[in-house]
């Protein structure tokens, strides 16, 4: 009896796979009129259009589908890793720590609202979303093998036609390995452009569909006035100003703490990092570039007790030198945390 059910189950599964495969492979390969389907990204009000449009890599339904599949597929690696290894959905597509081979400890930035950013990674090492994933094929992350990857993609029921559907590439073997990596990165960039988070309680408040508690309002007022002075760097709607600042988290700069200087070698950039978005920070602990603070309460206490002076500290963080302190009461600190939690979009991680 059990065997009979297993056979039926197997038959249905295989039928399903074949039916799916047929759908997936229903590509008008011989049809010269075929073009990928353009996709128009809906841009939330007030969001800056920066990396939304790419002439080299226009958004298409098929490109997004390919990128979405590759994002979570270890097919790209020889070690079982995929993008979601470091960009875990439950953490708003971030990860608490990444221990880089060079010894740096990095709190992995979340993947959300990337279409509206000016640069990527804490130190701004990447300017283009289109090629952001290009750095992942090396031995430190995917350790990709060209022969294995070509073979795996061409024999895969979805991917073997997906590159034609997305990019009109009939034979991926016609691409060099770098060209193939680029197309993969392009498709992942297309998918990431569609990852928009705009459904936090704060957003709902703007739409009039949610109400703040008294504590959240108090936190809002601290955040958006000189009392807390958070807004100068964490400007809505992104809750980031897309710039680099030394917020006083370190007094000296060893290793990754050097921040933007690692890219520019300009001493004025020592200790500066890209302002992280505060959206979804309920899912992105720990905090700061190296994840030194485990909780939001610790972050608020850091600003409250006084930041570290260094020559490149931001003017906003050093207005009340030598140690810029917020001097908030216990209740005010709790209120600020309560407001920060309203920036969390639960629907984004489901």
């Amino acid at each position: 009896m059990q065997s009979k059910f297993l056979k039926i189950g197997l038959f249905l599964s295989v039928s399903f796979v074949f039916s799916c495969a047929k759908t997936q492979t229903d590509v008008p390969v011989e049809n010269n009129d075929y073009k990928p389907t353009p996709y128009v990204l809906q841009i939330p009000a007030g969001f800056p259009e920066y990396n939304v449009l790419s002439i080299a890599n226009p958004l298409t339904v098929e490109g997004i589908a390919l990128g979405k599949s590759l994002y979570s597929d270890p097919i790209l690696s020889t070690n079982g890793k995929s993008c979601i290894t470091c960009h875990q959905p439950a953490n708003s597509f971030s990860r608490p720590f990444y221990f880089a081979p060079n010894g740096y400890t990095i709190s992995v930035p979340p993947h959300l609202n990337l279409a509206f950013k000016k640069n990527y990674n804490w130190e701004g090492s990447q300017l283009s979303l289109d090629t952001l994933a290009m750095g992942d094929f090396g031995p430190d992350i995917f350790n990709s093998d060209s022969a294995i990857l070509y073979a795996a993609l061409t024999s895969h029921p979805f991917y073997k036609d997906a590159f034609y559907k997305a990019f009109l590439i009939k034979d991926i073997y016609s691409l060099s390995f770098i060209q193939l990596q680029k197309k993969i990165a392009y498709s992942i960039a297309q998918y990431l452009r569609t990852k928009v988070s705009i459904n936090s309680k704060y957003d709902q408040l703007q739409l009039g569909t949610a109400r703040f508690t008294d504590e959240e309002w108090e936190g809002y007022n601290i955040f958006f006035t000189e009392k807390g002075d958070c807004f100068h760097c964490h400007q809505p709607p992104l809750f980031s100003d897309n710039e680099f600042h030394n917020n006083g988290v370190s007094a000296t700069f060893e290793g990754f703490d050097a921040g933007r200087w690692l890219i520019t070698n300009n001493k004025a950039d020592l200790g500066k990092f890209a302002t992280p978005t505060l959206r979804n920070l309920g899912f992105t602990a720990p905090y700061m570039h190296d994840g030194r603070f485990k909780t939001l309460e610790e972050v608020v206490e850091f600003y409250n007790s006084g930041v570290n002076y260094s020559p490149t500290i931001d003017p906003i963080s050093s207005k009340k030198a030598p140690h810029y302190k917020l001097n908030l009461s216990t209740q005010q600190k709790a209120s600020l945390v309560a407001f920060l939690k309203t920036l969390t979009d639960d629907s984004y991680v489901k």
């Binding site: 009000a45 007030g46 969001f47 800056p48 259009e49 920066y50 509206f116 950013k117 000016k118 809002y220 007022n221 958006f224 006035t225 000189e226 807004f231 100068h232 760097c233 400007q235 809505p236 709607p237 992104l238 100003d241 897309n242 710039e243 004025a268 002076y309 020559p311 500290i313 931001d314 003017p315 906003i316 963080s317 050093s318 207005k319 009340k320 030198a321 030598p322 810029y324």
Partner: protein, 268 residues
């Protein structure tokens, strides 16, 4: 050319103000007349053909300096009238309502909002379609007029996204961000954040220029320089130790800066 859509907010504001307190009959009559007028204005606007006045170009080069020397960032090199030694790390501001004053009543308004980041190598405001003629002066605002100084009235881009002025502090946009460091009376290095915003802080500029001519299809060049020390001088000697090293939320300090700022630009 100023269009109906540009001036409509002013009319709506005025209309809302006017109908306050009217009795119902007068209110409906006023409403009917107002909308008839608007419709007729719209019609007039849409049928008006721009006079075929020959046009030329004006290129305004913006320079940033301190007492005649080109601005150098991030080094405490400068001294203001109050003997505060300071550095500059950021100069961002908006320029609006550039107006050329004609010698024959041929004034020309370039109705655009321009975000300026002084750290860029070359800053040129290119005004196209300027009517040919002779002009004796230029005026513009540092800041944004009240009708457009409203949250999200201007499209955000990565450059100007840090200019929002929180609603809880009055809303709109920062008109000016001048940031850097200074040495306080104990020789501590402190941040300075000279920010102005809110409608009362609009800074009118009317730098003295030589008469200039706009010729058909030709570009006329004009260089204007902002002397940063003027923000802290004349009529009020602004002292970071006494008057504060940050101004946001301090209407007195913002007013000093606003009044000092009326002559920050001069023609080179």
């Amino acid at each position: 050319m100023t269009t109906v859509t540009e001036i409509l907010p002013y009319f709506i504001h005025l209309w809302l103000y006017k109908i306050k307190g009217m009795n119902h009959k007068i209110k409906y009559l006023f409403l009917a007349v107002t909308f008839s007028t608007i419709i007729s204005c719209s019609k007039t606007e849409t049928t008006v053909v721009e006079p075929s006045v020959p046009k030329g170009f004006l290129n305004i080069q913006l320079l940033h300096e301190v007492d005649g020397k080109a601005l150098i960032y991030d080094t405490i090199l400068y001294r203001n009238k109050a003997n505060n030694f300071y550095s500059v790390s950021r100069v961002n501001y908006y320029i609006t309502n550039v107006k050329l004053w004609g010698k024959n009543n041929n004034d020309y308004l370039f109705d655009s909002i321009m975000f300026i980041d002084a750290s860029l190598n070359a800053i040129n405001l290119n005004l196209s379609r300027v009517p040919v003629g002779n002009y004796h002066s230029i005026s513009f605002n540092i800041g944004i007029d009240a009708a457009r100084n409203i949250h999200n009235a201007i499209p955000n881009n990565p450059e100007n996204i840090s200019m929002l002025w929180p609603d809880v502090m009055g809303g709109g946009y920062h008109f000016l961000k001048l940031e850097g460091k200074y040495l306080d009376s104990l020789n501590n290095e402190k941040g300075i954040a000279i920010h102005i915003g809110l409608n009362a802080s609009l800074v009118l500029q009317n730098p003295i220029i030589k008469d200039m001519s706009i010729l058909e299809n030709k570009t006329t060049n004009l260089s204007l320089a902002m002397n940063l020390n003027e923000w802290f001088t004349n009529p009020y000697t602004f002292d970071f130790n006494k008057d504060g090293n940050y101004t946001m939320g301090d209407s007195t300090a913002m007013n000093f800066i606003k009044n000092n700022g009326n002559d920050v630009f001069y023609a080179k």
